[in-house]
């Protein structure tokens, strides 16, 4: 009989707080990944819906962007609630990535060097599920790019804080940038397609009554987010969103810090 080093043998003498103790397990890591995924998915959906204001004109979307800083109204100091949300999102993003990274390493180790000669015949795994790691990395790189592009304005001299409308137009008017947005959002939609189904399994939300609806939910939410997010670069490229009659910087003065 072989003996193996069990988890107990390697446990520190002093126990970690229970949530960290739990995080040592893969099943719990997946659970935390699913919970953080739900938070991120909710954000992505809200972000896409909010950006629809782009189609109502510069006034609407710039006002929307500014009112995000006023979230909480008079109850909290200006931008505080926004910062709490930003910190929460960053934490969810970080924990999602850390869990993915450590599970991926563990999985590759468990698989070992694949010796199969015959290529695997996948029966259930689809392109989205097999490329989660890649689509995840693409989304991470894209988020950094997207923040640099439209939140920090690193890439353009025309970038004006608060003039969301013009910033979006100036960014996505260049076709290479539009292409980056399109490619990244296709990757994002694939990631969401597998993730949105997967989270039900991981959280143990399973009931024969609605099990079929889970796949349809994943299809629907991934499809909606894909269509919504792709519409922005396509609308700018197609001329639906343009700067006719827009005075650069005018909104900056009105809504500035």
């Amino acid at each position: 009989m072989t003996t193996t080093a069990r988890r107990e043998d390697t446990k520190p003498a002093r126990k970690l707080p229970w949530i960290l103790e739990m995080y040592r397990s893969d099943v719990a890591k997946k659970w935390i990944m699913a919970v953080s995924g739900v938070i991120l998915l909710g954000y992505i959906a809200a972000h896409m819906l909010g950006n629809m204001k782009l189609y109502f004109g510069a006034e609407e979307i710039n006002h929307y962007g500014e009112s995000l800083r006023d979230l909480g109204g008079d109850l909290v100091p200006r931008t505080h609630l926004l910062w709490i949300m930003r910190i929460g999102l960053t934490a969810a993003f970080a924990v999602h990535i850390h869990a993915a990274y450590s599970l991926t390493r563990k999985n590759l180790q468990a698989r070992g060097r694949v010796r199969y000669d015959e290529p695997r015949q996948y029966l259930a795994a689809n392109y989205a599920s097999r490329t989660m790691r890649w689509s995840g990395v693409i989304v991470l790189l894209f988020v950094v790019f997207h923040l640099a592009d439209l939140t920090w304005g690193w890439f353009s001299d025309d970038w004006v804080r608060g003039d969301v409308y013009a910033n979006v137009y100036n960014s996505m008017d260049a076709w290479p940038i539009a292409l980056i947005y399109i490619a990244a959002n296709v990757a994002l939609a694939m990631h969401i397609f597998h993730g949105a189904w997967s989270m039900f399994q991981t959280l143990g939300i399973n009931n024969p009554r609605y099990n079929n609806a889970r796949k349809n939910f994943a299809r629907g939410i991934a499809g909606l987010i894909l269509i919504g997010n792709l519409s922005f670069p396509l609308a700018v490229q197609g001329g639906l969103v343009d700067l006719d009659g827009h005075t650069p910087g005018q909104y900056n003065l009105e809504y500035g810090e």
Binding site: R7, M22, D26, A110, R111, D117, A124, Q201, G204
Partner: protein
């Protein structure tokens, strides 16, 4: 008189866990289409012995699909192309004359190759040892039907208990995860009244033992497709739910401070 097949076989040969392996290419001529896959290997081995070549080692026992010993990778599919069928129950009539068949052992770090197509699946025994049992007090056997069990519960428990522990789920999984096996063993006992007293302890122990050996689930669903007993992915969701529930409950810590 049954039809005869002429096949080209590529069989993995390896002397031990750390030996360098290679493919043996054999022309298997005149194989009756009514032969089972293992009978075909028997015929090939008889011929190898006659030619003074060491026969190919493969695991087999009951040859009626209930012992779980015989799994091999056939053309990149665990237990071959027939759904819900173990290698021993797969018949040569599922192949065509002139086919090339690639036969490989299970792939996973925790399933080291003993010889040729036979792998060491004792990691599964460690998982079952950790909690795949109920503790019954000694004494006279309880009367039949003393514990009422709803029909649905008995059925779902039996569906899980159908798992023969062959390891196809691990071999089919891109992460070499043993979630389908472990969740079947858990569901089998966790749904029955007799399994309740040790339910949470069992779930934690078996999941954590599983994680000592195998990868984590990424919800591809390949395991279910490969499973000769068609064990449902639903059991994985139930296991995830029970594990996190048990961790959060922390019952064992109550009144300890």
């Amino acid at each position: 008189m049954s039809k005869m097949l002429n096949l080209k076989l590529k069989i993995w040969r390896q002397n031990g866990p750390h030996a360098q392996g290679s493919f043996l290419e054999v022309d298997a001529h005149d194989i009756p289409e009514d032969a089972s896959f293992l009978e075909m290997l028997d015929v090939v081995n008889e011929r190898l012995i006659a030619d003074d070549v060491e026969p190919v080692t493969f695991g087999h026992d009951c040859r009626e699909g209930i012992c779980g010993t015989c799994g091999v990778m056939i053309n990149g599919q665990a237990h071959g192309p027939e759904k819900g069928t173990a290698t021993c129950q797969l018949h040569m009539r599922k192949f065509n004359d002139g086919d090339e068949i690639v036969i490989e052992p299970w792939q996973a770090t925790s399933f080291p190759i003993l010889k040729d197509l036979m792998v060491d699946r004792r990691a599964f025994d460690r998982i079952v040892e950790a909690g795949g049992y109920i503790s019954a007090p000694t004494g006279t056997a309880p009367d039949a039907n003393e514990i009422p069990i709803p029909k649905e519960v008995a059925d779902t428990s039996m569906d899980a208990a159908a798992c023969i522990g062959c390891g196809a789920c691990v071999a089919a999984c891109p992460n070499s995860a043993a979630q389908l096996f472990t969740s079947a063993k858990l569901h089998h006992l966790n749904t029955l009244p007799q399994g309740q007293p040790e339910r949470w302890k069992r779930t934690e122990a078996m999941v954590e033992t599983m994680e000592d050996f195998f990868g984590s689930c990424t919800n591809h669903g390949e395991c279910h497709e490969a499973c000769p007993k068609e064990i449902s992915l639903d059991f994985i969701a139930f296991m995830n739910k029970d594990y996190v529930k048990s961790k959060i409950k922390n019952r064992s810590l109550a009144s300890k401070r």
